[in-house]
């Protein structure tokens, strides 16, 4: 074997004064970065195996461990950075596509951080959410053109909708890409907090049918795990056309992750690769999409909203218009920072557009065309906190999906190694040694806590703006001001510059 030329990415620092050689780190590292030297009777580490998932750091009873960036520096070069060079070493060694996990980590502008919210001062009163009612109730689905009442009672038949206590849903992450315990955590948290989680394209495990009332079932190009029972098990259906992390290509679950439970849930043989085709082979036009939407509505007796998820790409607004006209009840737009269990590195980092611009463009377009009421818009990708949620709503979203943030609440430390199946936090893995590390009782509580915490914060911010119902903020771009943005950006976002 020749030299692979790679140098460690991280340095494991062990404080020998604190280390008690208890071997907790040895037992917890699926990458085998720590081992016990029986001859020396002490624990030793191999830097090159470390992925900085920090499992050992967190678990170490004496806090003897820390992880640093490996201090080895390449000669400074703005173009040829260490990371760029190492990528070439890897490909020169393997001849393969570079694969990665989680979302785009490149330093593209983060528009959320260039938009600021308004607050009431003197001329209009702010509202204290602890003393006054504050409504976050959100409905996802088509809105009737008009409401008719007879003798004080609503007589208009309402289309099927999802009712949310908070405008935050857990985004699609398939069983296979993440563990059953992760699914259980999200399902239970959804039920607890009055919102929804999304199965992703891998079907719904039998144990989770009990959470169907809070479940969005996804139908993707591979049709994994899809049958009438599945379609009817959820509260809504989402057709996945694309994903922000890898627009234009389908999902790919390696056979090693397809154990019997995944196999049964996906309805594919154990150990086989689950490769979703890049396109839906029955969809080549908006008309075809219309057919699929109505096939699914037919299959579920028109009782469930059917949505369509697309990646935010260049002509997203026009596509969204087509989807609305094709009969979808909601559109999910997934920005270029959206996460993934596995994606080709170059696609993840270079394809798609920022969600903030896409969201604003879609909302504007649908309004301009007078069809905004036909669909709800769910904004997905890069929501990090409650103020991002509020900004997304003000830009025009009905609700937001959170994926990465949800996984972080379950313990994810963003090491971006989901694709290896060796997630030390028991999330993006099917290894039974690792999946049990995520106790769904704890996971559900933590995910629910996150939603609840954000709910409180959203109410605070709404109150500050003098708004007592989330509905009054939707598309209310007057509540936003841009900083450090070009006129063009401001124009697309449909917001004024700070000070205007």
């Amino acid at each position: 074997m020749s030299l692979d030329l790679l140098t460690p990415e991280f340095l494991i620092e062990r404080d020998r004064n604190r280390c008690i050689d208890c071997q907790v780190c040895v037992r917890q590292c699926a990458n085998e970065a720590h081992s016990f030297d029986a001859e020396e009777e002490k624990v030793v580490s191999k830097d090159e195996k470390c992925v900085a998932c920090q499992r050992c750091v967190v678990m170490c009873p004496t806090h003897a461990l820390s992880i640093r960036r490996f201090p080895l520096e390449f000669r400074e070069n703005a173009l040829w950075t260490g990371r760029t060079i190492k990528d070439i070493y890897k490909q020169a060694a393997t001849g393969g596509i570079l694969s990665t996990g989680m979302g785009n980590d490149k330093p593209y502008p983060i528009y959320w951080d260039h938009m600021l919210l308004n607050a009431s001062q003197v001329t209009n009163p702010s509202i204290d959410p602890l003393r006054e009612p504050m409504e976050l109730k959100t409905f996802i689905g088509r809105k009737p053109e008009k409401l008719e009442f007879k003798e004080g009672k609503l007589i208009t038949k309402l289309p099927p909708r999802m009712e949310l206590d908070v405008p935050i849903l857990f985004s699609a992450m398939s069983f296979g890409s993440i563990s059953l315990n992760a699914h259980k955590s999200l399902a239970r948290a959804s039920q607890q907090e009055g919102t929804f989680w999304n199965t992703g394209e891998g079907g719904l495990h039998k144990d989770l049918y009990q959470y169907g009332g809070n479940t969005i079932v996804q139908v993707a190009s591979g049709r994994f795990g899809v049958d009438p029972e599945y379609l009817n098990a959820g509260a809504a259906i989402e057709i996945k056309i694309g994903q922000g992390a890898k627009p234009g290509i389908g999902g790919h679950l390696p056979g090693e992750k397809v154990n019997w439970e995944v196999s049964e849930t996906r309805m594919i043989p154990e150990g086989t690769d689950a490769i979703s085709p890049a396109p839906h082979h029955d969809i080549y036009s908006i008309e075809d999409l219309h057919q699929l939407i109505f096939s699914l509505k037919e299959a579920t007796n028109y009782k469930k909203p059917v949505g369509v998820k697309i990646a935010a790409v260049h002509n997203v607004a026009a596509i969204a218009s087509g989807i609305a006209r094709a009969g979808a009840d909601f559109i999910t737009i997934d920005g270029f920072r959206g996460g993934t269990g596995s994606a080709p590195l170059r696609t993840r980092d270079s394809v798609g557009i920022p969600i903030e611009l896409a969201l604003a463009a879609v909302d504007t377009r649908l309004r301009d065309e007078g069809i905004r009421g036909l669909v709800s818009i769910i904004s997905a990708s890069s929501i990090r906190n409650s103020s991002d949620v509020v900004k997304a709503i003000a830009l025009g979203a009905d609700a937001v999906y959170i994926g990465t943030a949800a996984l972080i609440s379950l313990g994810c430390h963003m090491c971006q190694k989901c694709n290896t199946g060796k997630c030390n936090w028991g999330i993006a893995t099917q290894d039974p040694n690792l999946t049990k590390r995520l106790n769904p009782e704890i996971g559900a509580e933590r995910a629910a806590n996150l939603i609840r915490a954000w709910k409180h914060e959203i109410k605070e911010m709404l109150g500050g703006m003098g708004i007592n119902a989330l509905e009054s903020l939707r598309g209310n771009r007057l509540m936003l001001r841009g900083v450090w943005l070009s006129d063009r950006d401001l124009n697309i976002l449909g917001i004024k510059a700070a000070g205007e």
Partner: protein, 148 residues
């Protein structure tokens, strides 16, 4: 009575319970590093993690209703407290005859190799007056302390 129960589906085999058991039964109850580095001989853990990957679970004295160890003990050192139900070994009276090891159907009593002559077993951290250290420090709630 309240006992420690293991949920093996969530036991991650880290053995943090053993570490904290050692500390809780050392002279340095609030200092893990000292408990491990200063105390010689180091106390043995009174909780045992059994492992056959991917299955693992922690096992310790069940504080049996009908504790066979207390009936087998030749010195009277092993006693079940009639009020709390906790089975404890009075170490000064224990002579290390290991009849309790012979009697315990859980294999939950171990020889204290360093001290040679004292059987070591879970005392539910009775002298600490709080939730047993193993339960308190289990990172994944795979151990619970409850009435069943």
């Amino acid at each position: 009575m309240k006992r420690v129960y293991a949920k093996e589906e969530y036991c991650v085999g880290c053995r943090v319970c053993e570490v904290h058991c050692i500390v809780a039964h050392s002279d340095y109850k609030n200092d893990i590093v000292k408990a491990f580095k200063k105390q010689n001989p180091r106390p043995l853990p009174r909780i045992l993690v059994e492992e056959n990957r991917p299955i693992s679970f922690a096992l310790q004295c069940r504080h049996c209703e009908d504790a066979p160890c207390t009936k087998a003990c030749i010195t009277g050192a092993m006693q079940k407290d009639p009020e709390t139900g906790v089975v404890t070994n009075e170490e000064s009276r224990c002579v290390g005859c290991w009849t309790c090891i012979l009697a315990c159907p859980y294999g939950a009593i171990s020889r204290n190799e360093q001290g040679k002559k004292v059987a070591s077993k879970c005392d539910l951290c009775s002298d600490l007056g709080y939730t047993p250290a193993c339960v308190k420090n289990c990172p994944n709630n795979a151990l619970v302390f409850e009435e069943r």
